[in-house]
């Protein structure tokens, strides 16, 4: 009777091997097609190995508690010709011939395969190499040797600056020669000096980007806030209301703005929030103090002063330090959404998109009514906050903005 292999399947993109947790069958058992016969565990999940067709288990090679590479022959089952035809299952004999032919052709490359015929391991299934994870220890493009680091320091380069270079070194790493070639290549290109402001932003963003960020967005109606604000004199900035709502929401859930340092989450000491101010060739972020404890009306003057000082680029270091989160209003550029990057010393940044008038169905009125809607976009350090926490924080901010008179 034809023999059908039981193989450790490809269990996921990056899974190279799996451990047998439990054998659910024994030699001699009769199985049907797609029956789960072996329970295996990877570093991601527990899954089942299923039969390719029905038949009788004649051999089991896999043992419980042992790890096997993807493609390893774990056992053999015997099936009738009809069953094999019906399920289109591979049969061991055929594969054997096929693989043997292949090996003799590639013999030179397989130097680890001995020609010694005294003991020949039965080659039945070639282990799959599809989806193998990068082996540990391979340097890859991110390995920068001390020599390379010294040359980059000499040129004032950061790792991000050489992302354009495809490395020719071992494991694809970028060598000093690659770097010199690249510098020669861009030698004749038009260029300009980056301003100190540009370099400062670049440095902050590069430092910040070492963390795993995620972004979420929530559309909120703005009509109540816009209407309330229009009645104030003088009119506080729209961003200030968002700052205030953000500070209140954070003060209710302080860990959300916390900092992960080693195994500790460091909580904010005060709810001092920054506001991003676009200036020529960069961004300034003045910080408003204790936003959770003062009403918008109390904060308005200081807010205007800080924003103006930012635009004129005459902020003192004290005025830009100590923020725990930032609000950026990119809606002023007509943008509908964005994924801003938090400052290196902050976990969160809240973006305010452009208000856009859209028709919304109203059950009360029984018709479509115009609603000014804007997107609140929150980027967060996913080590500290999850999508759920970020979502709840945004919901709370949106809720607070519906009662502008209380802010």
């Amino acid at each position: 009777m034809p023999q059908v292999p039981i193989i450790m399947p490809q269990l996921g993109e990056s899974i190279a091997e799996a451990r047998i947790v439990r054998l659910l069958i024994a030699v001699g058992d009769t199985v049907v097609v797609d029956q789960e016969i072996i329970e295996v565990e990877t570093n991601k999940a527990t899954m089942g190995v299923t039969t390719l067709c029905g038949g009788t288990i004649t051999e089991l090679r896999g043992e419980e508690g042992e790890d096997y590479a993807v493609g390893t022959l774990l056992g053999i089952l015997e099936a009738s010709e009809e069953e094999i035809e019906r399920t289109g299952s591979p049969v061991l004999g055929e594969r054997e011939e096929e693989t043997e032919k292949k090996f003799s052709k590639e013999e030179e490359n397989l130097h680890f395969r001995s020609n010694d015929s005294s003991y020949e391991e039965p080659v039945l299934i070639e282990p799959s190499v599809r989806g193998l994870p990068v082996p540990a220890g391979v340097k890859g493009a991110h390995y920068i040797s001390p020599r390379m680091r010294a040359r980059m320091d000499e040129l004032g380069l950061q790792a991000a600056d050489i992302s354009a270079i495809a490395g020719s070194g071992a494991g694809g790493r970028v060598t000093v020669e690659d770097l010199e070639k690249f510098l020669d290549y861009i030698q004749g290109w038009p260029r300009s000096s980056a301003s100190p402001m540009r370099l400062a932003v670049a440095d902050a963003m590069r430092r910040s980007w070492s963390r795993p960020f995620a972004s979420v967005g929530l559309p909120i109606p703005m009509d109540k806030l816009l209407e309330y604000r229009s009645r104030q004199n003088p009119k506080p900035g729209l961003t200030l209301y968002v700052l205030r709502a953000f500070a209140i929401a954070l003060s209710e859930e302080p860990t959300t703005a916390g900092f992960l340092i080693g195994d500790k989450v460091v909580h904010p000491r005060a709810f001092d929030l920054g506001v991003a101010v676009q200036v020529e060739d960069g961004v300034m972020v003045p910080v408003l103090r204790n936003v959770d404890q003062h009403r918008v009306s109390e904060l308005a003057r200081e807010y205007v002063e800080l924003v103006n000082a930012g635009r004129e680029r005459r902020l003192t270091p004290e005025q830009t330090s100590g923020g725990i989160a930032t609000v950026t209003n990119f809606g002023t550029f007509g943008l509908k959404w964005g994924t801003p990057i938090p400052l290196p010393n902050e976990t969160l940044i809240l973006g305010l998109a452009a208000g856009i008038k859209t028709p919304k169905w109203s059950d009360e009125v029984g018709a479509f009514i115009p609603v000014t809607e804007t997107e609140l976009c929150l980027t967060f350090d996913h080590r500290v906050v999850d999508g759920g926490g970020a979502g709840m924080l945004l919901q709370r901010v949106g809720q607070l903005l519906q009662e502008p008179e209380k802010l």
């Binding site: 040797s145 020599r147 390379m148 680091r149």
Partner: protein
């Protein structure tokens, strides 16, 4: 007419004996017999009592030489094999090495150590001793790789006021030939760039210099340019020349015939990592003999010490890091 490495040692001693009345030779069977390797052949006739046969006690030999040095002599002691100098270890490291520090009286002795492997010599007649003596302060350790260095460094060693461990490689005695005994005049303490290259540096000394050059020749066929640095003396260690070479190549293989635990190759790697970390493009590697007694059988011996084949293999590893 070519000169061998042993000829150079013979010639240097001859000149030293003729030029300096305080020089005398002391060793087992060095008189009428001319020494186990004939390094003192014919000296007895010319210099008579200045060529002294010693009893089979290395301890007594060095002890006597230290005493003679205190009294203003410049003895050259021939160990029959470097391996047996361990018997005189106390006299060498505790007496000779510390005497100037303790008393202000220098000990200008030179101990000739026939060291290194030759086929079939086994565990007691093949060992390298430079690493153990270099460990101790007060001793200079010289490891010539060329005919002219054997000549010149021996002469400089005897003229030096410090005790010198002169490691002459037995494999090179008659195998290594040169057209002239005169070299480039590079002084003791300076390393030599034996071969220029740009992809990797091999830092080595003694007989391994020649194996490294052969390995570099093979890799040159594939376009790799390997630089070879001959330390010439392992103490003092010319780290400047080594660092300059690593600055050119970015990669270091420290090669030695001694055992792998610690030693000169480890010292070279340690110094380069500490002083030239920013020059390195790959982790520095070492290649030494195996960590076992040295085998008798020529095949086993060949597998025990670094060979051009194993050096090429190691260099490939280094070049692919």
């Amino acid at each position: 007419m070519s000169v061998t490495y042993i000829d150079a040692i013979h010639q240097a001693q001859l000149e030293l004996l003729r030029e300096d009345k305080t020089v005398f030779l002391y060793g087992q069977d060095i008189g009428d017999f001319g020494g186990a390797f004939k390094a003192t052949k014919g000296f007895k006739e010319e210099f008579g009592p200045r060529v002294l046969d010693a009893p089979i006690s290395e301890d007594a030999m060095i002890g006597m030489a230290v005493g003679a040095a205190i009294n203003g002599m410049r003895p050259i002691v021939e160990m029959q094999f470097a391996d047996f100098s361990s018997v005189a270890f106390n006299q060498l490291v505790n007496q000779a090495g510390t005497h100037y520090y303790r008393t202000g009286i220098p000990i200008p002795i030179t101990v000739r150590m026939p060291c290194g492997g030759t086929p079939g010599s086994g565990p007691f007649h093949s060992q390298m001793v430079e690493s153990i003596y270099a460990h101790y302060p007060g001793l200079v350790v010289v490891t010539p790789a060329t005919v002219s260095d054997a000549y010149q460094l021996l002469k400089e060693s005897v003229q030096l006021d410090d005790p010198v461990i002169f490691c002459e490689h037995k494999f090179l005695y008659r195998w290594l030939k040169s057209a002239s005994i005169k070299g480039d005049g590079l002084p003791l303490g300076k390393a030599r760039l034996t071969r220029a290259g740009k992809h990797a540096t091999v830092v080595t000394y003694s007989a391994m210099v020649h194996e490294a050059v052969r390995a570099a020749d093979r890799l040159a066929e594939e376009g790799w340019e390997i630089e070879v640095v001959d330390l010439r003396s392992v103490k003092p260690l010319d780290i400047d020349t080594v660092l300059a070479s690593v600055a050119r190549t970015g990669r270091l293989l420290a090669l030695g015939e001694g055992f792998p635990w610690g030693g000169v190759t480890a010292e070279v790697v340690s110094r380069v990592v500490a002083e030239g970390f920013h020059l390195l493009d790959a982790p520095p590697l070492r290649l030494n003999a195996k960590d076992t007694p040295i085998p008798y059988h020529p095949d086993l011996w060949a597998a025990h010490r670094p060979t051009p084949e194993s050096i090429v293999e190691k260099l490939r590893e280094l070049l692919n890091l």
